[in-house]
Symmetry: C2
Subunit: 221 residues, 2 copies
Amino acid sequence: MRDKDPLVFYFDFISPYAFIAWTQVHALAERHGRALDVAPVLFAAILDAHGQKGPAEIPAKRIYTFKDAYRKAHRVGLTLRPPPSHPFNPLLALRVASLPMSDDARRRLIDALYAATWLEGTGVETKEAVQTIATRAGLDGEALVRAAGEPEAKERLRARTSEAVTRGVFGVPTLVADGEIFWGTDGLEFADAFLRGEDPLPRDLPWKDIPASATRRALRS
Amino acid sequence: MRDKDPLVFYFDFISPYAFIAWTQVHALAERHGRALDVAPVLFAAILDAHGQKGPAEIPAKRIYTFKDAYRKAHRVGLTLRPPPSHPFNPLLALRVASLPMSDDARRRLIDALYAATWLEGTGVETKEAVQTIATRAGLDGEALVRAAGEPEAKERLRARTSEAVTRGVFGVPTLVADGEIFWGTDGLEFADAFLRGEDPLPRDLPWKDIPASATRRALRS
């Protein structure tokens, strides 16, 4: 009998929702006896691929998103403190988190990078910050930051981001379970039901074939 | 002593999430002894105002949104059946729902229009459909459809949509309680806590003043 496929968790440090989901997703995978494939992706590139704006790019939505994330974090016992700037450049942190290492090391590293971003308010934008955080997590921070600058490290992040887009991922966090995608912190609850075999969704949903009968342009009056 | 302000519920028939919230929001208002100001708005115009795409306008997100809404509806005991087309033109239904009438009549009318859209799968896009639904709800369907074509009816919908944008509404459903906005079906839970005086949010959130240190363009590599 084939082992069950791993769950894939797509995330970016930029998203407080991805942080909240990160704190919950390991227990979810363990409950269902699944391995967890941890996939750093560049959210900005996913937005680009879908011609979409991120919540931080719509002024009215930006402040609401912070408040909503604060409330959702509070619900799971976390007190958010935002980074010094947002949106910030997450590339170095994402590339470091993408480097080859043991599952255990990667989890400690991402824990520490996320804590610096969303709990400690110090941020992960500079080489110095990332190096210090990685070292504090028990890794060789200097070597990791150096390796993250290599072309292979950049390519690794690009490849996982493209893979996400190809699978239909349009936001972070996204958990993919047996080909089904689950988006956002809400998504985890539905993924849990899906993995228990209790997804209420009928198998033959005809909804992708529903035609559109109006466009936004036609509604302008 | 001044009465407590009404809660304002902004919605469009186009959104299954707004339908789910509609089925919950009356009980929420009653729990807190608040009147409910029911405000039909054109979601497409709100998207326009923020230069934003709706979930149905991003192919990867469109089908996910239907699935997610189905699961969220199931959680509150509803089985969604989508309308014959989507996105559809909701203008007539919104204008009818905006006409002057008693609170009770408006609630019955919106219940019936929403049921036709998201439970019965028959839709609310044509004059015939809207008239039949209104008549079935015990109202004068013919008179309502005629009144909805008048300039004042069109202006009434436009005015509430503009009011929503001015208040920072960026999506539907949105509930506004004492100036605080709560978006989506999740938002109702947080609005409930807010109205109980149990919003965990610190009063002095400094987040609107956090600077951006990266833009998407700068991240393209």
